[in-house]
Every structure is written in structure tokens, then in C-alpha cells.
Symmetry: C2
Subunit: 237 residues, 2 copies
């Protein structure tokens, strides 16, 4: 019998594990001694944070190579074929969501390995819940282009699609570029478009605010620099 | 000071709360005595499931009227303006995601009420993680039209958009129509398109399988009838 691939969410920022993980997720992680991780260093920190009972030097952590080649995937899945249960960890939040682990999960399905997703924090989902924007139709677009004019053109495109489909648009940015993206949104979007900024989710410093572009233009400038932030936009009809 | 609006996820199906909720989420719920719920009856069942320490008859549960009118929203938010903390609950999973609570959250932002999303299970997110499909670009579309030819046309549209954008398409169906939707997908989609079926997530009966349409056509028919199921589709490039 092959092992099971557990999809193990991890902390988004500073928080106690009881605040963001069910006991069952923590317990499942603590039973495993083989992990595949987007980043081995943060995975070690996560295991410590979880209070994993086995000394770190006795735990196998394989880092996902980038780019991920078919031969890597076969090598990483081998312990599962040998009957071991393995945990897949993202750098933060849920593996396979806004991270490169999905290909490994897809190949696990193809080779008859059972996949079990565990409950934990996702910044995208927490942001969507808290935004008050349309949660019946939404799309995640990853990163926008980092510079104008491409960035501005992409914002126009997303706003137009949001209007046509009544769809909440979700995107992220490298934290040191958050302020530039915020400025571009204020310059580019229609006054009545709704913009939500959700920062430092699930930590003591969490802030979530939703306003129309015209109100953001008048409001005190939000602190975004170097804070992990999810941007959500919904065009007014 | 106004109160805080807590967004409180609930169980997706039969499961112990330790399996799907962080202790902090359960504890936050157990401190509240005022709730707004998509469905008052399932909300009472959720409070019992959570082991809420206060007798149910002493807990206020307001059901979200459908459709939700501006006057309803003001009435529902009044306890928050009076300084009480209130919990918003969906029928299952995360409030504001694939349910009608978002408008209330949006109005809370407009009136200066703090909104705090709590971690818990979302069938859409668990399905996306477990699917192995693209988690860097995805969209949720709610329900497809229930009958052909509209349903078939919508599937063609979603598959085309998935190919153009490399975007995972996520949708749901009323459980007794799952089999008809599955048949329509097998008839309509290209042989190489990937289809994931994720059923009864976070319960003992959970199943998740991802295959190409051509492989689903040859595989034993999956049991979908009356099982809450998330459908995910990714067009092969």
C-alpha cells in the first residue's frame, strides 16, 4: 500500500498554532517524519512552531526544486510508493494554493497515491471572507506585472472583467512593492470601484479595510510597506 | 466603541470540531451570545456541535433575510453599534464565501465596525489544494445553469477560458444534480482536460480524484449522488 500525501497548512505570520490550526492538523503533522517543502528552512521553523516531538535532525525534509522537473517529482514521491506518509508544506498558508506544490499533488493522483487536505489558514480565503466583496464569484490572479505601463493595463483589464462578470478580483504583490501597487490602483480605477486591503492576516497586527477608490483617495494613507497584503477589487455596477 | 463582527466558519459535514476548527475559533464562538446566520436552524446545530457553554434559549440568532434589504442590514448591525460582539455564520464552511453574508460585511466596513475572519474549513479551498490543479490562477463560478443547452454552453466557455488563462475553474452543483453535471462534463470537455471531483471534504467519507476526461470516461463511475461535491476543471495546454 502506498502512503498518503498530507497537505499541511502552516502559519501566515506570528501566531500560536492553536490560533490557526485545528488540533487534528497539528496532530497529523506530528505523526509524520517525512516532509516535502517549498522552503526547507521555513519548514523546519514550522515544525518547531508545531511542537513536533521528533528531533529535527531525525526528520527528512526535501525541498521542492525550482523549476520542478518530472524526475524530481518521481524522486520526491518515492517514499510514498514505499509506503510512507509524507507531508507537503508551503512557505506560508496552504500548499498548492499560490505556490508551486500543485504539480506534485497532480502526479500523486496519477500514481494512485491518496491525497488528504488538512484545514488551516489561507490568506486569500481569510481576505475574501473579511472583504465583504462578492464571494459567490471570484478569481485569484497571482502577481500583477511589477511596472507601468503593463501594470496599469492589467488593472484596467481586471476592473473591466470584474464589472462584466460581477467577479471579485484577488491579487498579491511582493510586500516592498505594495505601496506602488496601491498608488497604481488609486490612479487607474474608477471612483466607485471597491478596494479591500487585507494585511498581516491571522496575526496580532491584522488589518482589513474595504472602501471605494474615491474614499481611499481621501483617507489617511494605509501602512502597507513590507506587510504581507492581499488586494481585492470589485467594480461597482 | 462598536463591537467586532467575527466571521465564524462551521463544519462542512460530520466531523468533530477539533478536526476542522482551531481552538481559537471555537473559543471565540463560545464567548459570543449574538449571532447572524444564513440558516438559524443549522446555526443552532453548529453551536451545539461547538459545545457552546450558554443554553441555546439565551443566545440570540438572527437569520439573514433573503433577499437582504438595506433596512435588514441596518437592523442586524444595530447590536454591533450598541457595543456587542456578533458572530456571522454560514450554513456550512466560511461566511461570505459562496453565501449571501458578504453584503453585511461590506456594510460593516462602511460603518466603521471591525471585522475579524476566523480560520476554519472551506470546501472550495480544500478542494483546490487537494486537486493538484493550478493554484496560482483560479476562479470560482458558483452554480452552472441546471439544464442543457445552457449548461453545455457554459462548460465550453469555462474550458476555453481555462485554456486561454491557464486558470483552474471551480464550480458546484446541488448534490442531487451532481451526476447530471458529471455526465455533461464527460460529453462536452476535451479528452485531455483535467477534472477533479472532491466530495464530502473534511469528513470520514472524503474522496478526491483528479483525472483527464478520457480517463474518467473509462474509469468506474464515481459515486456523486447527494454528496456535497466541488468540481474543478483545468484545460490541458
Amino acid at each position: 500500500m502506498p502512503g498518503t500525501l498530507y497537505l499541511l497548512p502552516t502559519q501566515l505570520g506570528e501566531s500560536d498554532w492553536h490560533a490557526v490550526l485545528p488540533t487534528a492538523t497539528q496532530a497529523a503533522a506530528c505523526r509524520l517524519t517525512h516532509f516535502i517543502a517549498e522552503n526547507a528552512k521555513t519548514a523546519r521553523a514550522s515544525l518547531k512552531w508545531l511542537g513536533h516531538p521528533v528531533p529535527l535532525r531525525e526528520i527528512a525534509i526535501e525541498q521542492l526544486p525550482e523549476p520542478l522537473q518530472p524526475a524530481d517529482i518521481e524522486r520526491l514521491l518515492q517514499p510514498l510508493h514505499d509506503g510512507l506518509d509524507v507531508g507537503l508544506m508551503s512557505e506560508a498558508g496552504c500548499p498548492g494554493v499560490a505556490d508551486p506544490g500543485a504539480l506534485l499533488v497532480r502526479r500523486a493522483h496519477e500514481s494512485g497515491i491518496a491525497v488528504r487536505p488538512l484545514v488551516g489558514p489561507s490568506s486569500l480565503l481569510l481576505a475574501l471572507m473579511a472583504s465583504g466583496l462578492d464571494g459567490q464569484r471570484f478569481a485569484f490572479h497571482g502577481y500583477l506585472p511589477p511596472r507601468d505601463p503593463e501594470r496599469g493595463r492589467r488593472i484596467v483589464e481586471l476592473e473591466k472583467e470584474s464589472r462584466q462578470k460581477s467577479q471579485t478580483q484577488i491579487f498579491i504583490e511582493t510586500p516592498y512593492r505594495n505601496e506602488a501597487l496601491f498608488d497604481a490602483l488609486l490612479t487607474t480605477c474608477a471612483p466607485r470601484t471597491l478596494l479591500c486591503l487585507a494585511s498581516d492576516l491571522s496575526t496580532a497586527g491584522e488589518t482589513v479595510a474595504t472602501r471605494r477608490i474615491e474614499d481611499w483617495r481621501r483617507a489617511p494613507r494605509p501602512a502597507l510597506d513590507r506587510r504581507p497584503t492581499v488586494f481585492l477589487l470589485l467594480s461597482a455596477r
